[in-house]
């Protein structure tokens, strides 16, 4: 039997810009170009400048610096302090978001009707700009003498606290502000995850003599684990690079008491005008963020298999 000769419409569509694929590429290219200009190029420029001396205060030293910026970082006490604060800030705010969000989601799941009201209320803090959140906490909530939180604390007899003006309360305050804004996100994701759990396995567990606590530990937690890990990944990446709310509330102060790595990089670049060192700090934050999320993603897939 003889096969027909290989001529067809498909044969003519081999070039990159011919046929459907070419048309698709043509349609995507403006968007792709904007994306490259706004993300890839600044990122490459950041990495390049982290190997340079660019200091507007001492322009006469400008030039290629090699690994100097990174070497300086290793012996910079303020850098390690910022690292430490970033870790405290990220771990505690993500932990609080998950714990409070899960608790609220479990409570709301018990409500037979009207869950939609809580879902809508939960969206409100999320849609506020972080800068607004920072300012609103600084003025309405935490301001000594006038803020609601300070008022409550005074009424309870603990006296007025300078929430954003003394070191430890300042750090706690910025953690609370971040938790306040982003717990609803964890709440919504975990609520959706809880709502999707099949009810009959809970009935099976009740028949198998598991009490409410055992059902939570042995059934609920393992089943919503993927959702928890996703929330941890997303929130950790955002918390590591948090900026606006802290900047608006404390500006990293008092002193460096709430100066997480992102704020330190910003101040170095745009207050002290040392762009080279600021870039190196930003790159180190980038590496940490990628590393942490890489480990978390790995944990997620490793456990699933």
């Amino acid at each position: 039997m003889q096969l027909p000769p290989k001529v067809g419409i498909g044969r003519q569509r081999s070039g990159l810009f011919t046929g459907e694929r070419g048309f698709a590429l043509l349609m995507v290219s403006p968007g792709l170009l904007v994306l490259i200009l706004t993300t890839t190029f600044p990122l490459a420029y950041l990495i390049w400048s982290s190997f340079q001396n660019i200091n507007l205060a001492m322009p006469f030293l400008d030039g290629f610096a090699g690994l100097d910026n990174y070497r300086n970082m290793m012996s910079d006490g303020r850098y390690w302090h910022a690292q430490q604060l970033t870790a405290i800030y990220t771990i505690s705010s993500v932990f609080l978001q998950i714990a409070i969000g899960l608790g609220l989601a479990l409570l709301v799941m018990q409500i037979p009707a009207g869950q939609w009201l809580f879902r809508i209320m939960a969206i409100l803090p999320i849609v506020l700009a972080p800068v607004v959140v920072g300012l609103f906490w600084r003025t309405l909530m935490l301001a000594p003498e006038f803020g609601i939180v300070d008022f409550i604390v005074r009424v309870l007899g603990f006296g007025s606290v300078n929430w954003l003006g003394s070191p430890t309360p300042a750090l706690i305050s910025v953690i609370i502000i971040h938790t306040w804004q982003w717990t609803p996100f964890a709440f919504l994701v975990l609520l959706a995850s809880l709502a999707s759990l099949p009810p009959d396995i809970y009935e099976a567990a009740r028949i198998d003599k598991a009490n409410a606590f055992q059902r939570f530990i042995h059934i609920t937690l393992p089943l919503i684990r993927p959702a928890i890990i996703i929330v941890v990944i997303m929130r950790s990446m955002i918390a590591l690079s948090a900026f606006a709310a802290i900047f608006a509330a404390t500006g990293g102060g008092p002193g460096t008491a709430s100066e997480i790595l992102n704020l330190y990089a910003y101040k170095t670049s745009f207050v002290e005008l040392n762009f080279g060192y600021g870039s190196a700090l930003a790159v180190s934050l980038l590496i940490i963020t990628l590393g942490v999320s890489g480990i978390l993603f790995h944990l997620r897939t490793a456990k699933r298999n």
Binding site: P198, D200, I201, E203, A204, A205, R206, I207, D208, K209, A210, N211, Q214, H218, I219, P222, L223, R225
Partner: protein
Amino acid sequence: MNQASDNRGRVTLRGIRKSFGSFEALKGVDLDIEAVEFFALLGPSGSGKTTTLRVLAGLETPDEGVMTLDDADVTYAQPGERDVAMVFQNYALYPHMTLEANIGFPLKMDGVPKDQIPGLVREAAAKVKIDHLLHRRPGQLSGGQQQRCALARAIVRQPRLFLLDEPLSNLDAQLRLETRVELKKLQRSLDVTTVYVTHDQEEAMTIADRMAVFLDGNIAQVGTPEEVFNTPRNVDVAAFIGSPPMNILKGHLDGTKVSIGDYAFNLPAAVARSPGEVVVGIRPSHIAIAQEGLPASLYLSENLGESMLLNFDVGDQLVKVRLPEVCRFADNETVRLKFDPGHVHLFDPQSGTRID
């Protein structure tokens, strides 16, 4: 294993009522289930059989009525306090646990010492022939294997009451027949009171020692499969039991003489009832084609392989006839149907109850 044989697992339900919103699922159910009995709850969907099973399990609290288990009032007892086990329709296995953990879960929750659990799990798994799959998760198993895992999880604890909610309905036809036989064997070997919900009356007939027919939130009849099949208590049960179910026709009774239109035949014994209208019920296999009888024209014939199922137009009604051997009929062919008088059932046209 024979803890159950000392008369454990006697259940009574008295006046159980349950509503979901405005829907009345159970309208006063009374039921007695004996120890070690294989009892089927049979009925169409929405008839209340699954709600009854869930009341037995403690997953639903009745609005009214009393349930006792071995003479103890358990109406408001939690599921875990009743020592019952249940196989759910879609198995309800814990998806994140291996089969071993699934089957061992009730033991772990029951506080069985850790070193005893693997042995008991293996024993239960071996009974349903899945002991080679213990390291797998439910998602890696076929429907039949998941079903066996659900069975193993239910029997591992040696419960007082074994509840099965349509356990075979998600299996394919071949597997259903095989599992049905195994289930019956398993129940006999375990000696445990078993309550089995099904809408498949063939399943109930073959597997159960006794059964309750649910219709519209009430129990229409309780009895052995033979009793229910041979002497249905009312016309609704008669029309539900049997595959295909009984033919129901309007007729007239006068002494021993029953007439349907122009066709008349005599019953073997007189019925103590004044002459008047009756409802005549007759199973498809108790009708023959003869020279004399009820005139009927063929609507459709179905070849079942070893028998024939013929659908006849009689007046404005369809009458089904099952013939023991395969034969050919032309469409619209007119024949005469002869009823076997010994197998005719009569019902009151108003109340629908059986006339004996």
